[in-house]
């Protein structure tokens, strides 16, 4: 099997939501000497295609969940093959804010970012503001992702951003908020840099923020 076919197989397994299959084809591809970075690129492209279909209304939540799990299975095989000092696109600290336990959207965002070459520290659900601050400091993160699905907990996002300011870390990170009850206006109100409506929009959102940053003199 040539390299092109091996890469195609990885993507095909992802698009077919085949968790067992993707482990096998990623292993085979690695054994034939294909670089992990190239396999990651296939995963990213595949997830991008799935995300685009979701945004168009052709795909549904279950397809995001199952493709995310399939990508994670591939990433688990790839992880030991990444050397120390491997170039990462950025470091992300992400979690669902205190009082809230919804994590489907957040998990999908984590997987998309991992598959796209970001170093992701997923703190889970019901995360206290102080923990976000500590992790950002310790990991020297440059992106913060905050998730909430309850109208009663979304105000906890503001608290995290205020605590970051107090700790003198606000300018170190781009803060992105996401979750069903949120909006662009809300993101601005709580002092976030961006709002992600649907999980698959995360990469576009980060690219836009990076572009904006470059434009600032």
């Amino acid at each position: 099997m040539n390299k092109e076919e091996s890469l195609k197989n990885v993507k095909q397994c992802l698009l077919a939501f085949d968790r067992d299959g993707i482990r096998t084809v990623v292993n085979k591809a690695l054994n034939t000497g294909i670089a992990p970075a190239e396999l990651m690129k296939e995963l990213k492209e595949g997830l991008g295609e799935i995300g685009a279909k979701y945004e168009k209304g052709e795909y549904f939540l279950s397809e995001l969940v199952v493709s995310g799990e399939t990508a994670k299975a591939a990433l688990a095989v790839l992880a030991p093959h990444f050397g120390v000092g491997q170039q990462k696109l950025g470091k992300v600290v992400i979690g669902t804010v205190e009082g809230d336990i919804h994590d489907i959207g957040k998990n999908i965002v984590s997987t998309i970012l991992l598959s796209s070459g970001y170093e992701v520290y997923d703190l889970g659900v019901d995360v206290k503001s102080s923990r976000f601050v500590t992790e950002i400091k310790e990991r020297d993160a440059d992106i913060l992702g905050l998730s909430a699905l309850l109208t009663s907990t979304m105000m906890n996002m503001k608290r995290v951003i205020l605590d970051l300011k107090k700790a003198g870390l606000r300018n170190n990170v781009k803060a992105i908020v996401g979750g069903a009850p949120l909006s662009e206006t809300f993101a601005k109100e709580v002092g976030a840099d961006a709002y992600v409506r649907d999980a698959p929009e995360i990469l576009k959102t980060i690219d836009n923020l990076k572009e904006e940053q470059q434009r600032v003199p």
Partner: protein
Amino acid sequence: MCPRMAPKERAWTALEHREPDRVPIFEPWMHTIIIEKILHRPFTGVHDMIEFYKKLEIDFVPISFGAPKGWKPKFLDDKVFVDEWGRKWRCQKGAIWDMFGFYIEGTIDTPEKFDEFEFPDPLAPGRTDDLEIALKAVGNEYAVMGAVDQGIFERAETMVGLGKFLLYMYEKPSFVRKVLEQHYKFSLELGKSYLDAGAEFILIGDDIADNHGPFMPPRLYEEFVHPYSKSLVESLKRRGAKVIRHTDGNLKPIMNYILDMGIDGLHPIQPEAGMDIAELKQTYGDRLTVIGGVDVAKLLPFASEDEVEKEVIDVIREVSPGGGHILASTNSLHSFVPDIDKFVKNVLRYVETAHKYGVYPIKS
């Protein structure tokens, strides 16, 4: 013209897609604080719900099922408890039911745990106590409904966890079917017991969608969920019930299945999910009574009372002519609002406007 129908007849007529004397009103779920603010006393249970509906002249009186007599939730700490279905909740003051709160997670999340789990009995003594109280108190006059809350899919997915449940549709389909089947049987037996108790209206609450769309593609909906949902509705309708189905979210990709289910009315038709009540009425009004129209995301929490009145008049003029429309807020009367007193005033204005301007024939 003075309204001349009893609420029950009004409700029945609207669900037959005909014009009653005025547009009926339907508000199945609310935080108890709303009831307390309107009745000016602490909420104590089903009697206060009945009083609330009577005071506001809301035509439907939906009553959910109770826990078995003597059953107590298992508290893991002072705030978190596990319910009959092994689901963890965090207590929330003023929630819709006494002990109901924020859902945390399902714990029956593997086939092994499900096999060991003792599934709750739909006919356990205590299930229909509240409904029987309501039927006795106002059953001759009002459209008292037995509510099969969280129906089949929602109860199943919250028991397992939505993410896992969706994943299992691909990876453990027989387990998913088994869980859905048990919830179908529970819902059916419960629904039949409501009808045996004397209810003529059934409400099936069962969320299967969010603002983006159904949680699963139509083919999986058809394969896993639709047969049970349809069979439940058909069985209850065969016994003469009028059936209203509630589900949040954007249902457009599965509207053919919603119609095929054979329900009499659909609630709440959320505009923020892209659902347009006027369009739905125009397209499916001969087969489906549309229930909704009063925006609870932006209008009721934030608008002035006059703006509420205008909006309610607009929706009545656009959607109510010809019948087949029941007014309702576009989800529930929740208390997640910045100013609860303003919200309550707006709810009162919405109901007053419905009484005043919802009288047939609708004046343009």
